[in-house]
Amino acid sequence: MTRRLLISLGVLGVAAAVVSLMAVPVAGQAQKPAAPAAGARAATPAKPAARAATPLRTPWGDPDLQGIWNFATSTPLERPAAVGEKAVLSDQEAEEFAEKLAFDLTRDRRDGGNAADVARAYNEHWMDSRRLQLGDKRTSLVVDPPDGRIPPRVPLTPERKQVAQELAARAARFNAGLPQSHQEFTPPVRGIIRTDRPPYIGTIYNNTAQIFQSPGQVVILQEMIHSARVIPVDGKPHISPNLRQWLGDTRGRWEGTTLVVETTNFRKDAGAVYGNANPDTFKIVERFTRVAPDRLNYEFTISDPNTWTRPWTAMVSWSKITEQLYEYTTHEDNYDLVHLLVGARVREARGEKVPEPSGRPAGGGDDR
């Protein structure tokens, strides 16, 4: 039991438990290039003009994004219902928000009984402390639509509905501690992909990426799952659509000082594409802009007419850090995957059954 909850909280799910966080300086935010997010942006202060005038450049003339970056943030992906239409908090509200957040996310407190204690088993030791730094007073990472919320989903085709039902059944079995096989686990649990698959959205920990550049290439090494995403910026065409990859196939170009990245060719496996979108029509465009020596704006626009009613855009500010990025592994020491399967077989022998589907998402299903 403990193992299962540990896993579902820590290695996998996290999404619900985590409002991931970090400082998004308002000054940096204002320097974003033009993009479809006018609603939220209007609420931010004007940029200091001096900064943009001297962008950092590599010796071969490209904007310089090299370094180690952290993308934890205190701002939730979607605007919480409680704040209504408000896009940016006042200083007073921000202070209250920070206090409440720090309290809500404290996992070392003991005021909830045994069940709550177990649910907080991934305690403060695991947490990226940067998720508590309130540098950004925005109420959502989503900047478009202007309501700060991901647009509604479109009705699914019968085929995709069937897939969704199968995923829900797997989630129910997982949550009941009764997974049938390793194939029922999500890609993060199996150690295949995690935050290395775009978009990059923070989790409770390991919100670190190191950017390397050479003439014609930008490469982003994400701490989790350890894979490096090579982004040619030399005009090379995409690989054939016959070749699909977990991280897709990525091409970049410079627009002024912004690196614009388009990724296609995602695999069709369950969980391979963000939000279980349709891999044939899913599109993601990411924009990286270094707005200050220690600050990079990361903006992504997602579209899939077969999944969402309209495209949507979010922005996360990354901050340059002086710590190192360390190797992250899952697969090589994935003891818990075996514990979960062995436990499931024991439960079956005892006659335990999977409850009716509750609609609760699978642990690790979308790990954000």
Binding site: T58, P59, W60, D64, Q66, G67, Q180, S181, H182, Q183, R190, G191, I192, I193, Q210, F212, Q213, S214, P215, Q217, V219, L221, I225, H226, S227, A228, V230, P232, K236, P237, I239, L243, Q245, W246, L247, Q324, L325, Y326, E327, T329, H331, E332, D333, Y335, L337, V338, L341, V342, A344, R345, E348
Partner: protein, 287 residues
């Protein structure tokens, strides 16, 4: 045909025959001899090692001499798993194991396709790590038979990213101090010695192997690699391997790395976890 066209055609023929004549008198470079060339350099003057590279040796089967041989499960897959013959890449031919350390190599080889992950404390005991899709460690990542990419820019770190298992390692230039932990791909400290990139790798997990023949090391492993451009298309790779628990002295491997020259070359994915999960976890499936 106009006079001008005739002249052009003749000139063209003369030019062609001259080229052929020049080639006929020249010898191809002897293996291991590298004609003089101009080293491509970065803005800081260091040799530019950027590119996608691949070893062509069969060292992943065995670092030492090996005959062509049937692979495991030949009764099921015929020659699919058979291994090519190859000459030793070890200087002097043989790895200088301490006498008492040799038995474990044989044991590794005998158990190379066996797996038992039912207990945490013996999880890693059986099976070639390659079979289980582990990150291969250094130097094995270099000669897995998959390409890897060197990314060298203007920061204080280089990236080596490998197609096999999406393994990656950061080479920190002029890093002071010891490895802060144990990692599957180790902790790499880089420095330049003239035009050679020297990478000192410590902090490697003790469970990695060097090849499918069970050549192994302990947690005292230290690997010092040397990458030297010897032509626009080749890096000479050398690694000195030191582990007093297992070998009686340091030993060295070397072979060239070849620049991949396909016009559309790029690293593709070999995320092999799904290819080994049935072997590792199939026995825990619901019956």
């Amino acid at each position: 045909m106009t006079a001008g066209a005739v002249t052009a055609a003749l000139l063209c023929m003369v030019g062609t025959s001259t080229t052929i004549a020049a080639q006929a008198g020249a010898q191809p470079p002897a293996p291991g001899a590298w004609p003089r060339f101009t080293v491509p350099r970065m803005a800081d003057g260091r040799p530019n090692l950027n590119g996608i590279w691949q070893a062509l040796v069969t060292a992943n089967f065995n670092l030492e001499d090996h005959e062509a041989q049937a692979g495991p499960f030949t009764e099921l897959v015929g020659t699919y798993t058979a291994e090519a013959a190859g000459q030793s890449v070890v200087e002097g031919g043989v790895i200088p194991y301490r006498p008492e350390a040799l038995a474990k190599r044989k044991q590794n080889f005998d158990n190379r396709t066996k797996v038992d992950v039912s207990k945490d404390d013996t999880w890693h005991d059986l099976g070639d790590p390659e079979l289980k899709c582990y990150m291969p460690g250094i130097p094995r990542a270099t000669y897995m038979g998959f390409p890897f990419q060197i990314v060298q820019g203007s920061s204080d770190a280089l990236l080596f990213t490998y197609e096999f298992a999406s393994a990656a390692r950061v080479v920190r230039m002029n890093w002071k101090g010891e490895s802060p932990g144990d990692f599957w791909m180790g902790w790499s400290r880089g420095r330049w010695e003239g035009d050679t990139l020297v990478v000192d790798v410590t902090g490697q997990r003790k469970e990695t192997w060097f090849d499918r023949s069970g050549n192994y090391h302990s947690d005292a492993l230290r690997v010092v690699e040397r990458y030297t451009l010897v032509s626009p298309y080749h890096i000479m790779y050398e690694a000195t391997i030191e582990d007093p628990n297992v070998y009686s002295r340091p030993w060295k491997i070397s072979f060239p790395l070849y620049r991949r020259m396909e016009k559309n070359v790029q690293l593709l994915e070999f995320k092999c976890q799904p290819f080994t999960e049935e072997l590792l976890y199939g026995r825990f499936r619901k019956q």
